[in-house]
Amino acid sequence: MIVRELELDLDAFEGPFDLLLTLVLKEELDLAEVDVAGIVVAFVERLAERGELDLEACGEFLVLVAALLELKARGLFPDEEAELADLEPEEAAEELARRLAEYRRAKEAAAWLAERLEGEGNRFFRLGPAPLAPKVERRLADQEPESLAVALRLLAAEPPSVSLAHLELRFPPVSQFLERFRALLSRRRVFDLDAEVEGMSRIEQAVAFLALLELRRSDEVALEQGAPFAPIRVSRAEAVDERRDEWIARSA
């Protein structure tokens, strides 16, 4: 008999014992919801079915269930752990007896209630929401409809338009720089970007750079930069092609 494979059918869990342990250890199943007595009953039933005493399985089961019970007890009484440990055995027994008596009384009281319910089962009565409380009449002072109109008119007036002047940024069109660089390249094979944009505003410099990227994308120029932050050299794309042609010719 393998304890791990013990099939359980509890309120909180249905499946093999080892899966229950896994779920409890991973804290995916709250041990407080698990009926440990139900596990014991399932084990004893399985044991009875076999008709022979499997000491190995019993030992393993006892260890597992004791561990489960300890975990559960610690979970249920987190603060009282120390309190009970501090007690003398005599006092601990007293405390245990007190708690058992308390629970026994709760069970007896529950039995009394169940009996009472049985006896009162033939009492039918009307149930419903709480009766309506008397309506309180709300007294308002006399109102002039005209004053309401005045108040509304104030709200209905169009608010002054807000100036957006401070938000305005002047972006020169990219095309302006495209034309300028193309013209420049028709005259010179190579130019230095930094030299060309010197004295311009930051925005203009940024747009100039964008224009340059645009030219590079359409393969009109080749870009070179010796090192980060070094001047950017812009050359006509044919020039690169020519150089490559030369190189190919030389290597061939």
């Binding site: 249920l76 245990l96 009384r105 089962g121 033939n122 039918f124 009766p131």
Partner: protein, 200 residues
């Protein structure tokens, strides 16, 4: 002496009784003598006299409608004789299917309330969350403040509906806890007997 049911009455107490009947037939919850006195615009003592008159008219065996003193007030209900007929037509959702854990929890709240979930769990030895939620939903218990200190747990008490369902005039009608179950000494003796039987 059996008082005959008179349709036309002249006595002021009879008239007051008729008013009380009207109030009670409209109510869906027990009404206290004080509530009735305010509504009938009369004094509590006279209302109590008139209530005795109404209770006499609407008594088991005499009427299909019965006046009962329950949950700290007065309410009409169906006579027990008509229970079978009522059961064919009407549900009893509040008490239907109350489980043993629910009754245990209800008993703890009724006797020890206001009481918190951790306290209930401590006595019963299992978590009380789902059971408490179920009882709250049925309206048998209600929140009653929090435990002392910051972030104290919510405490619960039983509702007038609990008293009504269980046919109690008030919680004081519950039997004394001392009369229920074994005493601590008896349990202790039992534990010791088991301990003695264990081989050392």
């Amino acid at each position: 002496m059996d008082r005959p049911l008179r349709l036309i009455t002249a006595s002021p107490v009879d008239r007051l009784a008729m008013t009380l009947e009207a109030l009670l037939v409209v109510a869906s919850q027990p009404l206290s003598a004080e509530d009735l006195a305010v509504a009938a615009d009369d004094d509590v003592e006279r209302v109590e006299t008139a209530l005795r008159l109404v209770a006499d008219r609407f008594a088991e065996g005499r009427s299909g409608i019965v006046l009962e003193h329950v949950a700290g007030g007065w309410a009409f209900r169906a006579s027990r004789e008509a229970a079978e007929a009522c059961g064919r037509l009407f549900e009893r959702p509040i008490e239907r299917g109350l489980s043993a854990p629910a009754l245990e929890t209800l008993a703890i709240v009724a006797y020890l309330g206001p009481v918190s979930r951790p306290e209930i769990a401590r006595i019963r030895g299992v978590a009380a969350d789902s059971v408490v939620s179920g009882l709250l939903e049925r309206g048998l218990i209600a929140e009653a403040g929090r435990e002392d200190g910051a972030g104290g747990a919510i405490r619960y008490r039983t509702t007038p509906l609990f008293e009504r369902v269980f046919g109690l005039e008030s919680l004081s009608q519950l039997p004394r806890l001392d009369d229920l179950g074994e005493s601590t000494d008896e349990i202790r003796t039992r534990l010791e007997t088991v301990a003695e039987r264990r081989p050392a």
